[in-house]
């Protein structure tokens, strides 16, 4: 049994971390700059982000490697540095997390569309394999395949992580509410459809991330639970739908507001709760407090 499943057995519910992009921009990441290059150029800042979440009480922290796949890094001329950038990402989060806390190696989508023939299944698999191995070698306990919208790309990423590392594998997709009130990814995948495919590919934990706020996550978790009673469910929710004020993007959900949904999310069947875009260490601190009351 992996580290997360073991901890879940003892603690029942766990807290994950919050946004990385939001904090990177606050630290001065420029528009058009490669976020993952900061693992090499500004390692202290990256470690600081992970440390802020650990200090806020999170049981786990992600790595700064969301866009660390071959295809995204090629845009910046960093295609030869996939291994170095991802290994470093994991090492930095590991340093901040110490030996006890969990490190989740972040793997995001490539931006290439399989069905349009922009990339082959094999090319995708190789890219995710390279990234996952590097994240594992830097000390990740788990690989989190996240913000996925295409069932095939997610499946290939999960399989690549599962077959080439000994890490636990998490897969979260991004769902939006459609006009009928149901939830679908941009590619039309429902939470219920995701479950069997990701389990079959080797996912140990599944769930949802990003989206338009924590409240909608309750329905998504219910839909997952309706088809699978056992698999642990992770939620990384946005702090609501972003608004634009005075030249800045503002996320409407306060730490208190987000934390107030924790009990309903847990009773819907979630096991691990953290944040996505717009969440801060303060959001995570209050989520941790809410989770402690439920243990």
């Amino acid at each position: 049994m992996g580290k997360i499943l073991e901890k879940l057995k003892i603690l029942k519910v766990l807290a994950s971390d919050g946004a990385w992009g939001t904090l990177l921009h606050a630290k001065g990441l420029k528009p058009g700059e490669c976020p993952e290059s900061w693992n090499i150029d500004h390692p202290a800042e990256i470690m600081d982000i992970a440390a802020q979440y650990i200090n806020a009480g999170a049981d786990m922290t992600e790595t700064n490697s969301f866009g660390g796949n071959l295809f995204k890094l090629s845009h910046y001329g960093l295609e030869k540095k996939v291994t170095e950038i991802n290994r470093r990402a994991a090492e930095l989060s590991r340093n901040a997390a110490g030996t006890e806390k969990i490190v989740l190696g972040s793997v995001g989508p490539t931006g290439k569309i399989l069905m349009m023939g922009e990339v082959s299944e094999k090319e995708l698999y190789e890219a995710f394999k390279e990234q996952s191995i590097a994240l594992a070698s830097g000390g990740s306990d788990a690989i989190v395949v996240e913000t996925m919208s295409d069932l095939d790309e997610a499946r290939i990423a999960v399989r690549a992580a599962h077959e080439n590392t000994s890490c636990e594998v998490i897969c979260t997709m991004t769902f939006e509410k459609i006009l009928t009130g149901e939830y679908r990814t941009m590619m039309g995948v429902s939470p219920a459809e995701m479950v069997p495919v990701m389990k079959e590919a080797g996912a140990d934990i599944i769930g949802a991330n990003c989206g338009n706020g924590i409240e909608g996550m309750i329905d998504i978790v219910r839909e997952i639970r309706a088809v699978d009673r056992d698999i642990p469910v992770l939620v990384h929710a946005n702090a609501g739908r972003p608004r634009y004020e005075d030249g800045k993007t503002v996320f409407p959900e306060s730490p208190e507001e987000m934390a107030s949904f924790v009990p309903s999310l847990i009773s819907a069947g979630a096991n691990i709760i953290g944040g996505c875009c717009g969440t801060t260490p303060e959001h995570i601190r209050l989520i941790c407090e809410a989770l402690k009351m439920l243990r």
Binding site: G21, T180, G188, T249
Partner: protein, 223 residues
């Protein structure tokens, strides 16, 4: 006969049937696709402008409306666009010779800092499928590049795309610079985090949550 052929072409575009060999959609397996039918129509003397307006445009409009109504999702639109592109290849010579006129020029790009192109591509394909010439500047596009393209194509309309909350803010200065350098240029914005409230704040001319909205807005600007 001609009517029927145009309806068949529109049907192939709507359901993403590219050519005879394509296995998609499964219920049209083995049947002629947009490729074969477009060629057949032109060979039989159907005016190329009819093939465009009463075939391709009709099919793209139908899928655009279904997409807006959440009856289909990105994959279906992509397949429709693929079928449309295939048919469009047969029309290229008529665009070049001037026999078929485009409705105008539409310049589109994902703004600086943002590497996402799916939303941008959907709009680009829908607009092209509606009879516009589309100049796609790609992803991570700086203001200067938009301005240079606008100056090369007087009277064009510009589309800006962003997927991230962290990059949509870059739209503001691009809109400002285009309006300074080429006053009166219509700028349409879109992308997951973008709203009409945001559009008003940054001074862009139109926002649509879906590609079909952009296509409909463009109708009033046909050259």
């Amino acid at each position: 006969m001609m009517e029927e052929l145009l309806q068949q072409i529109a049907h192939c575009i709507e359901f993403g049937k590219t050519d005879k060999a394509s296995p998609y959609p499964p219920d049209m397996k083995g049947l002629d696709g947009a490729d074969e039918l477009t060629k057949m129509a032109l060979d039989k003397g159907v005016p190329p402008s009819d093939v465009l307006i009463r075939g391709l445009v009709v099919g793209m409009e139908k899928v655009g409306i279904k997409f807006r109504e959440n009856k289909v999702f990105v994959p279906q639109v992509l397949m429709s666009a693929k079928a449309m592109n295939t048919a469009m290849q047969h029309l290229k010579p008529f665009f070049r010779s001037g026999e078929v006129k485009r409705k105008g020029t539409f310049i589109i790009g994902t703004v600086v800092g943002d590497l996402h192109d799916i939303g941008k591509n959907l709009v680009s394909m829908m607009v092209e499928g509606n009879g516009w010439e589309v100049i796609d500047l790609g992803i991570d596009v700086k203001a200067e590049k938009f301005i240079a393209a606008v100056k090369d194509h007087p009277g064009c309309i510009v589309g800006l795309s962003a997927l991230l909350t962290t990059t949509m803010v870059n739209m503001e200065s691009i809109v400002k610079q285009i309006h300074e350098q080429a006053p009166g240029t219509q700028i349409i914005i879109g992308g997951a985090p973008v709203t009409d409230e945001f559009r008003k704040k940054i001074g862009a001319d139109f926002y649509s949550p879906d590609p079909q909205g952009a296509v409909e807005y463009l109708k009033q600007w046909i050259v």
